[in-house]
């Protein structure tokens, strides 16, 4: 079973890459860079839920996944800007995302989280609902 490759998709987005380079992480910011101001802005994605639907014969190989993508920055404006670029890269995207075909991508929620444990760190969280065909 495959799932959307959010890392490859986000760093392939010119708008996101211009802000974070390759600083897109799965689930958490690596401990070794967490305290380094040069580690920001960055994006962190994690799977929130994956839901299958079924017909009377079988499970449909088109699951609905919800991913959370956090935009971290040292100031709020940068976090908001990165979140905006992430949204631009994700919303209404249709096509290959890694080796799966995405047929729908919508933003579900968007909100600020804080205060962060790291002083002076800002985070804007967005969740995206993605329907994709398993390869």
């Amino acid at each position: 079973m495959s799932e959307p490759n959010l890392y490859a998709h986000l760093i392939a987005s010119a708008g996101v890459a211009a802000l974070v380079g390759q600083r897109v992480y799965a689930q958490l910011i690596p401990q070794q860079v967490r305290g380094d101001p040069k580690a920001y802005p960055c994006a962190v994605f994690s799977l929130v839920s994956l839901v299958d639907a079924s017909t009377q014969c079988e499970t449909i190989p088109v699951p609905q996944g919800t991913w959370q993508i956090d935009a971290y920055a040292m100031d709020r404006d940068s976090a908001v800007l990165l979140a905006s670029e992430i949204r631009r890269a994700m919303v209404d995207y249709v096509g290959l995302m890694g080796d799966v075909h995405v047929s729908s991508c919508k933003r579900s929620t968007c909100f600020d989280v804080g205060p962060e444990p790291e002083p002076g760190l800002y985070r804007r969280t967005q969740t995206f609902t993605i329907w994709y065909a398993e390869s």
């Binding site: 639907a53 729908s104 609902t129």
Partner: protein
């Protein structure tokens, strides 16, 4: 084999009869089937023993209207066949097959004919596209039970 005294999930499929003699094909696009059954008419009667109270007897039965919710699958032959049936106002053969162990050999079947009344497309911008079929059971439902001894 599953314990037939236990409830179970899934394992009941609506099938379409095709060809002659009939072969049964699962309607695999279907996600929910509602309304298969029949209702006997309530016939009031009075006898000398009724003492002024209306009594009732079951009269002629009427097949129910059946709805089938389905996902919209491109190139589904069943979908195209059923759309053709609605267009041509056909009455088709159907069977509900109970097969808890998914062996392909049902332990119970309910067989009937249904008039193809209509369909509704339900496109969605943010979820699976679906559709709904409406049928009317025409005539009786025959029941067959197999292999019910544990």
């Amino acid at each position: 084999m599953q314990d037939i005294n236990l409830p179970f999930v899934g394992g009941i499929r609506l099938q379409l009869g095709l060809g002659s003699p009939l072969s049964w094909e699962d309607i695999c696009d279907a996600t929910a089937v509602g309304g298969v059954g029949k209702t006997n008419a309530s016939v009031p009667f009075l006898t000398l023993c009724s003492r002024g109270n209306t009594q009732y007897a079951p009269g002629a039965s009427e097949g129910s209207q059946v709805t089938v919710d389905a996902i919209f699958v491109m190139n589904s032959e069943i979908r195209q066949r059923l759309i053709d049936a609605v267009d041509a106002r056909e009455t088709l053969d159907f069977r509900v097959a109970v097969d808890p162990d998914e062996t392909g050999t049902p332990v119970e079947t309910h067989t009937f004919r249904m008039a193809a009344l209509g369909y509704t497309l339900v496109p969605s911008a943010d979820a699976l596209n679906t559709m709904q079929w409406t049928f009317q059971i025409s005539g009786d439902i025959t029941h067959d039970y197999f292999d019910l001894v544990p």
